[in-house]
């Protein structure tokens, strides 16, 4: 079996670590870990000879002398000391993870009385064994995915959310996944979100770097939405250039469930979002959106698999990205319409703008259809900024660089405008503007996160001219 070889033999280290660190737990869990480890040992880290990984090379990201924090950090770092969420007016129930372990901040959600649980996975493994047994590792299969297998073998902590039937969680839940270490660190958070019938939740998951050190995150999240549940899910990714982030999300939707998930990738050395959506009940609907703005040598990879298993479901996929400098992007959309999934409507679209001759994009919008009464379409475009629009702005006295920025902003706005949480939309809007002005990456190097902005960010454009 071909694989990735690094100077540090990460795979061997992981195998050794697995043998040495067996947590005390239920035999079923131990068996699951063993099976997962077996799958990982067999397949190893994914390499570019695999069809799904041909454009994303992990070998450089893995070539570090990693430490693997399996036990909670004990240095007493408070997340407030190193990071402050800088969405103004964003009142959320925040759960912070530091190097893959939840930091207990002692706060509980007001709706805990109604049976809503938001806690760490470590706690859930202990306290909610029946829920874990029923749902854990049931949606993110690791048979064909070595990264999920590895995560399943090592998973210790993450965020656990349970919402009982008919409960609408009013407060936005936000998870912040921070990496803070002086040595290269390899973490594997594991999240599970269980939503009862007619429940609803808004969830924002942020991945941030607080320093400029090397980090490798192999995260797996499972979401199960019972009948008519509604989930608004946002991933906000702003990592340093030395980090690698592999993000596997598996969504399981029952009848009438409604999912909207957006991945906003602003910075990151290597980001791979693998999203699997199983539409398992009639009339379920999924919106899968993404925006990415990459420059320097950053790499973004979005893999979306939407499985229309039953009839009358709809899905809508839209990914837009701008690549500058030597950035590279990958989009791989796969819609599967199974034999009996009649009356399916599925749309898939990927639009890209390259603004440098060194940037590369690989896109593969892929349809696999076995039912006849369907409406499926996909589109992909790669191009540059519209010359006519440029000319219009230039003719009104707007400088070339400002005009470019305005057009890029408008291009991404289609995704940003669909964020349904106003504060978050405003914040991401600001971040995008900042990102386009090249300021965000400067800030990203700074640990202070001064957070002094009160006024909104605007382009330096006299709008009256337009």
């Amino acid at each position: 079996m071909e694989g990735i070889t690094t100077n540090y033999n990460t795979k061997e280290t992981l195998i050794r670590l697995f043998g040495e660190n067996r947590p005390e737990e239920l035999p079923a869990m131990a068996r699951l870990r063993e099976q997962a480890m077996e799958a990982f040992v067999q397949n190893g880290f994914p390499h570019t000879k695999l069809e799904k990984w041909r454009n994303t090379d992990l070998s450089r990201s893995l070539n570090h002398a990693f430490i693997f924090p399996l036990e909670p950090a004990s240095d007493g770092t408070e997340p407030e000391d190193i990071f402050r969420c800088d969405v103004p007016g964003f009142n959320t129930h925040m759960v912070s993870l530091l190097n893959g372990r939840v930091i207990d901040q002692g706060n509980t959600l007001p709706q805990a009385a109604e049976g809503v649980i938001v806690c760490s996975m470590a706690e859930a493994f202990e306290k909610y064994k029946d829920l874990i047994e029923r749902h854990y590792a049931k949606y993110a299969g690791f048979g064909d995915n070595a990264m999920i297998a590895l995560n399943t073998a090592f998973a210790r902590d993450g965020v656990f959310i349970f919402i009982p039937d008919n409960v609408e969680v009013s407060r936005i839940v936000q998870t912040v996944n921070l990496i803070h270490s002086t040595e290269p660190v390899f973490v594997q958070p594991r999240n599970l979100v269980i939503m009862g019938r007619n429940s609803s939740l808004r969830l924002v998951m942020c991945d941030d770097s607080v320093d400029n050190n090397v980090g490798f995150i192999n995260s797996v999240s499972e979401f199960v939405l019972a009948e008519n549940a509604r989930l608004d899910h946002y991933k906000l990714q702003n990592k340093n250039d030395h980090s690698a982030l592999i993000n596997n999300s598996a969504f399981h939707l029952e009848a009438g469930a409604n999912l909207s998930t957006s991945a906003i990738s602003l910075n990151g050395g290597l980001i791979r979002n693998e999203t699997r959506v199983l539409l398992n009940g009639r009339s379920s609907h999924a919106d899968v959106l993404g925006a990415y703005l990459m420059d320097r040598h950053q790499h973004i990879d979005n893999q979306v698999f939407i499985d229309h298993a039953v009839s009358d479901c709809t899905s809508n996929e839209l990914f837009k990205g701008i690549l500058d400098d030597s950035a590279s992007g990958v989009f791989n959309g796969h819609i599967l319409v199974r034999k009996d999934a009649q009356r399916t409507n599925a749309y898939q679209n990927n639009k890209n703008i390259l603004i440098s001759d060194k940037a590369v994009i690989d896109t593969k919008p892929f349809l696999e259809i076995y039912a006849d009464d369907v409406k499926c379409s996909h589109g992909a475009t790669v191009g540059q900024l519209d010359a006519e629009a440029m000319f219009y702005l230039r003719s009104r006295g707007i400088s070339a660089s400002n005009a470019r920025m305005l057009l890029m902003y408008a291009f991404v706005a289609e995704i940003v405008n669909r964020i349904s949480i106003p504060e978050l939309r405003e914040r991401i809007d600001d971040l995008v503007k900042k990102r386009l002005r090249g300021e965000l990456s400067v800030c990203d190097q700074c640990v202070l996160h001064c957070n002094s902005r009160e006024q909104k960010i605007a382009f330096d454009i006299d709008m009256s001219k337009i």
Binding site: Q342, L354, D357, D362, K364, P365, V374, V382, Q384
Partner: protein, 482 residues
């Protein structure tokens, strides 16, 4: 129940293969199996020069080290490459000077196919290089062509007559180790067509070749080489029908096209090999490597294909756009029915500046079949200001068939524009209702809609072919209606 849609779909999709017959001609064959000896046998039979034998043996050695590709969306039992006869030729009695001397049985075969040589010669002015089981039997109109300096002959004849041209270009577009089936073909290719259009010549007639797979258990390994010299133009047509045989037959052909500066080559195919019976037994395995290179500036290569036959089709006519301002086109209609499987598409590799490519692919699946479009559009760093437009639509007739799309797009510069769009749908009830309402029966309506759906591609075909292609669409889908 004329208007019961289920009945009609059944009828529409259950047409029998009309060209299943077998011509009894005395054959000369190589022993079964593949080894260096087989290759030496073929080479010796064809009286080939040493370098060509070397070319074959090299390819064979590379083939031995390769494995059959499994990435395509195709399922078939493993092919036993030792159970195939790699060379079969009708025994030649003497050199033929006129059409009358051609074996009457062969003439009869062509008549059944509806392309009698006389008809073609008299009416349409098409020069046909008829290939039956690997050896060219008759070339017509070569005298007319000779006057213009056009060389249009069988591949083996070209090896004898213009070895320097063959040596210069053979394997330059499809290297012998390009892929598993190309290597196999390079090792054992038996015959095919060769065409050279000299500088500044516009070929006055449509060149055409007819392939047939005849003897049982004979793999057919055609090799076609077309060279359009500077400023030339040629339209080349290839059509295939094969008789009904029960065992699967292997076909692995190579077509190479070279277009030099300002040249234009148009290549049209109608493929209607035996697709297997309704249970999915038998049928041709068709693994073809077709590639053209726009070598000089301002050259153009256009592929048009109508694929209705074969149990398995694995075929990606591609264009390498090497010169500046070059143009590549791909128009395809692929119809699969019963248990047929097609994995077909194209590759457009943009290397030169201001290059343009267009891809129009129409897939129609019926019965239990699977129809895939697989394509690559690659804009390299150097290919500034290049443009691609791709459209691949799929039409599903019946709820047991599959339609898949695998487009790969890779862009490495900022000034190129790539657009891809695809839709999958069934024939809409609205359209059927509209036709019914105007007194058109459902079966005619389906025929009408399918033909309209494929129109964009069919209109690219040369006139002589367009008629046949429409008939084939009808036969493939409309059964008794056609």
């Amino acid at each position: 129940m004329e208007n019961d849609p289920n009945n009609i779909l059944d009828e529409v999709t259950s047409g029998e293969y009309k060209y299943g017959f077998y011509t009894d001609i005395e054959m000369e064959t190589a022993p079964k199996g593949l080894s260096e000896d087989t290759i030496r046998f073929i080479s010796a039979k064809k009286n080939e020069p040493e370098w060509l034998l070397e070319f074959r043996l090299n390819a064979y050695r590379k083939w031995l080290s390769m494995t059959e590709p499994t990435w395509a969306h195709l399922h078939h039992p493993p092919i036993n490459y030792q159970d195939i006869i790699y060379y079969a030729a009708p025994k030649k009695k003497k050199e033929l000077a006129s059409l009358d001397e051609v074996d009457p049985e062969l003439i009869e075969t062509f008549n059944k196919l509806g392309i009698s040589l006389e008809e073609q010669k008299r009416l349409s002015g098409v020069a046909v290089d008829a290939v039956i089981d690997s050896v060219s039997v008759k070339t017509t109109f070569s005298e007319t062509l000779e006057k213009q300096g056009i060389i249009f002959c069988s591949f083996s004849e070209a090896v004898q007559k213009v070895p320097e041209l063959v040596k210069q270009y053979l394997g330059t577009v499809v290297p012998s180790d390009d892929n598993y089936f190309a290597a196999l073909n390079s090792a054992v290719f038996s015959d095919g067509s060769f065409c050279y259009i000299p500088k500044g010549v516009r070929c006055p007639i449509e060149l055409s070749t007819y392939f047939r797979i005849n003897a049982a258990n004979t793999g057919q390994f055609e090799r076609t080489l077309i060279i359009g010299d500077e400023g030339s133009y040629v339209s080349y047509m290839e059509g295939c029908t094969a008789p009904m045989r029960d065992e699967n037959q292997l076909h692995a052909a190579i077509v190479e096209i070279i277009a030099l500066k300002d040249a234009e080559v148009k290549y049209s195919t109608v493929q209607n090999w035996y697709p297997g019976n309704k249970k999915g037994e038998g049928g041709i395995y068709n693994f073809v490597t077709k590639r053209g290179i726009c070598k000089g500036n301002n050259s153009k290569i256009s592929w048009t294909q109508v694929e209705t036959g074969s149990a398995i089709t694995w075929k990606y006519p591609s264009v390498v756009l090497m010169g500046d301002n070059t143009v590549g086109e791909f128009y395809s209609v692929a119809v699969t029915n019963n248990y047929q499987q097609a994995d077909t598409g194209t590759k457009m590799i943009h290397l030169g500046r201001n290059t343009k490519s267009t891809i129009i692919s129409k897939g129609i699946s019926a019965g239990q079949s699977n129809n895939s479009y697989r394509g690559l559009v690659k804009m390299t760093k150097r290919a500034l200001n290049s443009r691609n437009f791709s459209q691949c639509d799929s039409l599903l007739l019946g709820d047991k068939c599959g339609a898949h799309t695998f487009p790969y797009i890779k862009t490495e510069n900022q000034s190129s524009i790539v657009e891809h769009e695809a839709t999958t749908s069934k024939i809409s009830d609205d359209q059927l209702f509209y036709c019914n309402q105007r007194g058109i029966s459902t079966e005619s309506a389906i025929g009408l809609i399918v033909n309209g759906y494929a129109r964009e591609v069919l209109k690219q075909l040369p006139m002589e072919f367009a008629v046949e292609a429409q008939k084939l669409l009808a036969i493939s889908l409309e059964g008794s209606v056609g």
